[in-house]
Symmetry: C2
């Protein structure tokens, strides 16, 4: 079975760990978000790709969900001694090495997809990890700070400001001019199942869909497209998805996110099926009314380190895909 997953960072990575348990023989291709990539200290940092790579490769800091296990912070301490920031972005020494290798390879002319493949030779994540694009796309967020409207890098909004101010708009700068990375459209076309894990629908999955060609490929794919709600009981499972959902005019509820993606069959959307958490049982009717097959199952990845809950979620998603296919 060939499975394609559009993944952001922590939520996507933890779901993927479960998916690997649920479908150990599947060939999984992950299309990773690179809109939250950031150039720091002259180095190219790809937080979402690295979170997937470290999580599936056994190198993640399980507690915080990002960055490396057994991390030290000597380099950053030294950079601060030089007065070089930003200090609000946490980069550990082990993580720095990844960015050094990546930046060196990019500087030598390799595209990000080739660099990612090279980094994965060490981590052996057990999936094929593709960046959504080899081109530069940077998600910017329009905010008002001290009465002044300005655009900040997504990481500044997310990490520095902790999404504490309202987002007026989320713009994947450069997306319009970008192309899918090699292998992305082929993977979508050849997939047996396409999954949207409980990643942020705006700044993770939404950014991937903003790369011209990807949305169209998914809309036209032969495989069922199944999503899992990142909103449980009207609140994001983790992160601050509600903040950026508001920016695109979508209420923070499991049903609203499904409607935001929209129904594929006979519509202009992307979803054939949608999973909501059992606490959102009441959303099922609304989602099905929107033409999207919907089931309520537990969606909290409580034992993320073991991945059993995520595996159950993945099984439910694959079962819903079978149901769609059989329909």
């Amino acid at each position: 079975m060939r499975i394609v997953v559009l993944a952001g960072g922590i939520g996507g990575a933890r779901f993927l760990r479960g998916l690997k348990l649920a479908a150990p023989d599947a060939a999984i291709t992950v299309i990773g978000n690179t809109g939250d990539d950031i150039h720091l200290f002259g180095l190219q940092v790809c937080p979402d790709l690295d979170t997937v790579m470290y999580t599936l490769g056994g190198g993640i800091d399980e507690e915080q969900g990002w960055g490396r296990r057994d991390e030290t912070h000597v380099v950053k301490e030294e950079l601060a001694a030089y007065g070089v920031g930003p200090e609000w972005f946490g980069l550990g020494d082990r993580d720095f090495a990844t960015h050094i290798v990546r930046t060196q390879m990019l500087g030598a002319g390799y595209p990000l997809s080739a660099v990612t493949e090279a980094l994965c030779q060490r981590w052996k994540p057990g999936v094929r990890l593709l960046p959504m694009t080899d081109d530069r796309v940077e998600t910017h967020v329009a905010v008002t700070i001290d009465g002044e409207r300005r655009a900040v890098h997504f990481q500044e909004y997310w990490v520095k400001l902790r999404a504490s101010v309202d987002a007026h708009a989320v713009v994947p700068v450069g997306a319009e001019q970008s192309s899918p990375a090699p292998g992305v459209l082929e993977a979508v076309a050849e997939a047996d199942v396409i999954l949207f894990p409980p990643s942020n629908p705006v700044v993770s999955v939404g950014t991937i869909l903003a790369v011209p060609g990807i949305r169209e490929a998914i809309a036209g794919a032969g495989a069922p497209v199944i999503g899992l709600s990142p909103i449980v009981g009207d609140a994001p499972v983790r992160g601050m998805a509600d903040k950026v959902l508001a920016a695109v005019g979508v209420e923070s509820s499991a049903a609203a996110v499904a409607e935001h993606y929209g129904r594929r069959e006979g519509g202009s959307g992307l979803l054939d099926g949608w999973l909501v958490d059992t606490v959102d049982e009441k959303a099922v009717e609304r989602v099905e009314k929107a033409g999207i097959r919907c089931r309520a199952v537990p969606l909290m990845m409580t034992d993320h380190q073991e991945g059993h809950a995520a595996a159950e979620m993945a099984r439910a998603a694959l079962a819903l895909a079978e149901e769609v296919r059989g329909a």
Copy 2:
């Protein structure tokens, strides 16, 4: 008093520590060798500049003479895990931060001289540290390995091969097209004393002199030029200077190095005065016969951390300069 010093790495840095003790009120300008700079892991590493900066700024690993005190090696360990080398070049985490800041500033368009000044704002070395040039100069060494003649980067020759093969030639690639960094020629012209510390006469001082304009400026300067022998008792005080001296056809002795630099007054060389170690007392006559005023004083920097021996050496050099000036 304005003193100009042409410095390589460890020997130059330790001598400078003594010079600061001997002449606490002097304005010292250091022209640093950049021919042993190397681009590693996509980062610009300047071993000699950093050794001077760390030594005078109190950050050096006193034991090994280069690199940072209390160093850790997490980044390098991670790079090795990615299969990215070279492993033979020792870069610690604290040191990495310096190279990251430097590379970022160079990438932003600042010349190396401005970058060095910025780095020194943290270290406050108590001297004005100038790279010999802002242009790229790389010392290559012609060697024969497994019967094949080839050129290797100086660091590969020095650190990886430990100068274990004969050097046929030492070539400062790019020197001919380079220009002195801003301030270099002015400092030489305005100097009251010019010193060649016991640095390597070929790959340290020799490389600095290979930058067009610097040799001529020193030859024509109004200030006395005094050198200190890096060879004591026919052997290098440290390092493997004998190997590269052989490559330029100079025997490894205190007198031969003085003759290699040559006498300035009425000659085509650079030296007015030369200090040899007391064990090389016999060299004094030969050096003076070559037209260079010579004294034998202790030249072993035995207490390099305190710098008293180096301070005595500096005092002897300054005294010899006075003697030359009074002559």
